[in-house]
């Protein structure tokens, strides 16, 4: 009897599901009609591993591409140890046709001829570059050419635990002074290793405060680490820790500041959209949201972006371009960003994000400086981060740190 019931239930469920699927398929075919494109064949698409949620999303966007361009088949592959694997593939002259390019790596990879310029295709297919946020697209411009289109981006925003904020009787801070006074009020509520603010010993976070102080570390190719504006900006950041208002993830007992918010080891942190889906999935009971970064002399933050690019060694460049232009085009980007796992890099893609709101992050677009440095600067930042951690341990002075970084930056050929 029970068995028969199960069989019946399965049959009913199956019928309903296939009806829904059929309806869905119908609606998509009417929307994404196959287009007349000469490119065909198989295109390999590679990115780093990003977890199941995000990889499933990539696969669904790829599926919609294949419906629109039935002649092109896409092999999507998420690669672990991405940089090592990609460099090996480049060396073997067998890179994927389309792949992620982190803005941080762009100058080095472009300078070594690993990335193909897209200008020929842009003009041939009249692909519009205007809708892309110029600061993000700028990360993939070099030698007057465009080497990729940003697939998404994220600035640093201010994560605040809203329950602790309410208890401190406060509004979210909008200035440096307000940030410090909120932290003072939160101090009494933090127990054990917890601190009001989590700050990393990394310039990939601290530099946002330098920008807020109108500091610029590289001006017309000349390093300016020892300038007063840079020093004051980094001083504000470091002083938060010296005054007991903030501490590093290691001292708080976590791996990174997002985890500090989740484990309530800190009430405030400066992170990006990569908090999703991690924070809501792992710590569903913690109430927090993003706010714009606090303002120093000016508003300012850091941004990180990733493009879809192709390589001169690609065997199927025409089809690769069709895929890139779809994924970074209005339709593809909307599909990709609609769940809020990533922010659109195009201003013409408007999304009603699922809660919590991403508006505070998107509002940073006009104030965001992309983390982007000349080839060879990876070493400068290794030195810079080690020096910053020494400053935070009280083993180095801010001035000592800045002159060390300055001389390292000047030695880059």
């Amino acid at each position: 009897m029970r068995q028969r019931l199960i069989v019946l239930a399965t049959l009913v469920a199956g019928t309903v599901a296939s009806a829904i699927l059929a309806a869905g398929a119908q609606s998509t075919t009417s929307l994404d009609r196959p287009q007349a494109v000469t490119a065909s064949g198989t295109v390999t698409l590679s990115g780093w591993s990003v977890g199941k949620t995000e990889e499933d999303l990539v696969k669904s966007v790829v599926a919609s591409f294949e419906r629109k361009y039935p002649k092109i088949k896409v092999n999507y592959d998420a690669i672990p140890n991405y940089d090592e694997a990609m460099l090996a593939k480049f060396s073997a002259r067998k890179p994927p046709d389309v792949f992620y390019l982190n803005s941080e790596k762009a100058p080095t990879w472009i300078s070594q001829g690993l990335i193909a310029p897209l200008d020929k295709y842009i003009s041939k297919t009249k692909f519009k570059i205007k809708p892309f946020y110029p600061r993000l697209l700028g990360a993939f411009r070099a030698n007057g050419k465009i080497y990729g289109f940003p697939k998404d981006w994220s600035p640093l925003g201010m994560e605040i635990n809203t329950e602790l904020l309410a208890k401190a009787g406060g509004k979210a801070p909008t200035t440096w002074a307000q940030l410090r006074s909120l932290a003072q009020r939160l101090k009494g509520q933090m127990t054990g290793t917890a601190k009001p603010i989590c700050i990393s010993a990394e310039w990939q976070r601290a530099l946002a405060f330098v920008y807020q102080n109108k500091g610029i570390v590289l001006k017309n190719g000349k390093p300016q680490f020892t300038s007063a504006a840079v020093r004051q900006g980094i001083n504000f950041y470091v002083q938060l820790q010296k005054d007991g208002l903030a501490d590093t993830p290691a001292k708080l007992g976590v791996g990174w500041c997002g985890e500090a918010i989740g484990k309530e080891k800190a009430a405030i942190a400066f992170e990006g959209n990569w908090a999703f889906p991690y924070l809501p999935d792992t710590f569903p009971n913690v109430k927090w949201r993003f706010y714009p970064m606090p303002k120093g002399k000016v508003r300012g933050t850091l941004a990180f972006t990733v493009s879809y690019s192709t390589s001169p060694a690609s065997k199927n460049k025409d089809a690769a371009w069709v895929l890139i232009s779809y994924l970074t085009g209005k339709t593809g980007m909307k599909l990709w960003t609609t769940k809020g796992l990533a922010l659109p890099a195009r201003s013409d893609v408007k999304i009603n994000f699922p809660a919590p709101s991403r508006k505070p992050l998107l509002s940073e677009a006009a104030y965001a400086h992309v983390w982007l440095w000349p080839a060879g600067w990876d070493k400068v930042w290794t030195v810079a981060n080690n020096e910053l951690s020494a400053v935070m341990e009280g083993k180095q002075t801010v001035n000592g740190m800045l002159s060390k970084i300055q001389s390292e930056a000047q030695s880059v050929r």
């Binding site: 940089d83 090592e84 460099l87 480049f90 060396s91 080095t108 990879w109 070594q112 001829g113 690993l114 054990g192 290793t193 010993a201 590093t248 993830p249 290691a250 001292k251 708080l252 007992g253 976590v254 060879g376 990876d378 070493k379 290794t382 030195v383 981060n385 080690n386 020096e387 951690s389 020494a390 935070m392 341990e393 083993k395 180095q396 390292e408």
Partner: protein, 304 residues
């Protein structure tokens, strides 16, 4: 005469055949050794004289890469950390390995269990062990909880996150994880010591302490040499724990920057394969020199 001659030539033919069969047996491993080890090694030598990128040669630098190493502060940090690591880890590993080997070489109950238990960390993945250690050693982890309860007051030291203890914590971790392997090497040598020398010592009335220092320890010389060489090589190549603990930065305050970590960063982040190869060659030279010194130290005869 003719008989003898023909016998000689058959013997010769036979020995040639025997040699050929021998070579046939080792041909595959030798080929793979040449292709996957000697060839890349030679190639690394070659590209260390160039500015070499992901697509190959960019420009010839002569000894430029090696000159750069001399003035490279980060390499200096890496060299100092690596040497300090080796100086502490090698003797500790040897002592612990020997102690464990002598212990499990006795007629203990559950001897097999102890042997397996001591060897276990060598089989477990180093990253997995480091990940677990990161929990235990974190600022509100198990170790600090223990210290807090002994002290009677809160103690929150971040063992991996503080430059004063980061490398030392990795040292402690590795002394433990590799001690099983060292134990195995010592155990093999221990069991090759003939029992009659012990019998002679027993007849002469030597106690166990004296027997160990006067007989076991000196007779373990080939074991000492082998363990020391393996331990030095392993220590100078320390990478994965340093990478994991610092997220690749070698921090905090350069404390976990090691030669191989710096080599890796140079190759992968900087895409400077030539410079990275030069660093590798310097490390190779260091290891080769130290191995030669050890060979002289422990004496040739005993080794052979």
């Amino acid at each position: 005469m003719t008989v003898a001659k023909s016998r000689g030539s058959t013997l010769g033919r036979e020995s040639v055949r025997e040699a050929l069969v021998g070579y046939a047996f080792v041909a595959l491993p030798i080929a793979s050794f040449l292709i996957f080890f000697m060839y890349p090694l030679g190639y690394a030598f070659y590209i260390s004289y160039f500015d070499w990128g992901a697509l190959g040669r960019i420009e010839s630098l002569g000894l430029g890469n090696y000159r750069e190493i001399l003035h490279d502060d980060l390499f200096g940090h890496a060299l100092r950390n690596t040497l300090r690591y080796a100086v502490i880890v090698v003797p500790s590993q040897m002592a612990l390995g020997l102690a464990l080997a002598v212990t499990v070489n006795q007629a203990l109950r559950f001897r097999t269990f102890f042997r397996a238990a001591f060897y276990f960390p060598a089989v477990a993945g180093s990253i997995a062990i480091t990940a677990v250690a990161a929990y235990i050693l974190s600022s509100d982890g198990l170790l600090n909880a223990g210290i807090s309860s002994v002290r009677g007051s809160e103690y929150h030291h971040s063992w991996f996150g503080d430059s004063g203890t980061a490398l030392e914590s990795i040292m402690a971790l590795n002394i433990w994880t590799t001690s099983g392997t060292m134990m195995l090497f010592y155990l093999a040598t221990l069991q090759s010591i003939p029992t009659d020398v012990y019998e002679a010592a027993a007849i002469d009335g030597a106690g166990s302490w004296r027997t160990f220092w006067k007989i076991t320890f000196p007779l373990l010389k080939p074991g000492h040499f082998f363990v020391a060489v393996v331990s030095v090589i392993g220590s100078l190549q320390i990478f994965d724990q340093a990478f994991f603990v610092s997220g690749g930065s070698g921090g905090p305050n350069y404390s976990t920057m090691t030669i191989v970590l710096y080599l890796f960063n140079t190759a992968i982040d900087g895409v400077r394969f030539g410079y990275a190869s030069a660093i590798g060659i310097v490390l190779f030279a260091m290891i080769a020199t130290l191995t030669l010194i050890q060979r002289l130290l422990f004496g040739r005869a005993e080794v052979a």
